[in-house]
Subunit: 142 residues, 2 copies
DNA sequence: CTATATGGTCAAGCTACTTGACTAGTTCGT
DNA sequence: ACGAACTAGTCAAGTAGCTTGACCATATAG
């Protein structure tokens, strides 16, 4: 199997399994895309435009996504401390809980890889992928 | 950076770069999803239902995708030799050319990785990913 | 202090998917 | 061998998540 095909197959499977794990932990109303958004919001919040750039979509699409996660109680819009035009989107408690659930689910999958490959090989994998990972937006796979 | 995040970032980037490479080679009217379809059709053709299972979508969606690539000249529907209900979808010359273009583009990206990591590490990467790659459908990343 | 750029919203439209209902052909059970 | 159940594919309608375009409010540069 070609490297690129294997990589895409593993990535698709990983996304799917993380989503399943998050759903299994009781967060049934979100999609994988939201997880990528949460990852950007997690440290200190972000503006809708930041989020748009991170996800590689228009700011309108990002704004709609924010509407949704706000409506579902995962985040809230606050006035931005330094720019009266902007809003700072921050995770709520529920948002953080969901983020932790995603991390647990991801760790579970990686744990299964460790059983197949061994710890050393998993470390090497992380190391290699980390060195070729891009800086730009995290896009959906297609 | 976490392993799962790095993997998804690399996969998203790879998909995007392959698509760019395919477009640069003159195939401007297709999307990454079509490439996954071509991969399934390439050896000996497949039925729409096979394709649906491979892509993880409904057969109606697969059928619509087939409509599109037939209309654009990448594939054609033939009567199935063994089942009068079914149609065998096979690539045309243009479909094969596009598939080769995608392989070239993928090889180009992997070549860049080899510059960053070295040949040995790329081999190890392929080996590791091959061992954790799933058998099921190749899904879009989300 | 005017001109231009930027953050965000509103509205409308598009596209790739979905669900549901159906026809034509195949396979299984007796 | 014949009817029941299953399977390949299509037609039609609906939906979700994105897009483009127009716009307002605030910020920044000349």
């Amino acid at each position: 199997m070609a490297l690129s095909a294997a990589l895409l197959a593993v990535a698709g499977d990983l996304t799917h399994r993380i989503n399943d794990g998050v759903v299994a932990r009781g967060f049934t109303d979100i999609r994988p895309a939201h997880g990528f958004a949460f990852a950007r919001l997690a440290p200190d919040g972000a503006t809708a435009t930041d989020l748009a750039a991170h996800l590689g979509v228009t700011k309108q699409a990002a704004s709609q996504l924010v509407d949704e996660i706000v409506r579902k109680g995962y985040a809230e819009r606050r006035p931005h401390p330094e720019d009266a035009r902007a809003r700072l989107i921050v995770l709520t408690g529920r948002g953080w809980a969901c983020t932790r659930a995603a991390e647990e689910a991801a760790a579970e999958v990686v744990g299964r890889w460790a059983e197949l490959l061994g710890e050393g090989e998993v470390r090497a994998l992380r190391e290699s992928l980390g060195r070729i990972a891009p800086y730009g937006p995290i896009r959906p796979a297609w």
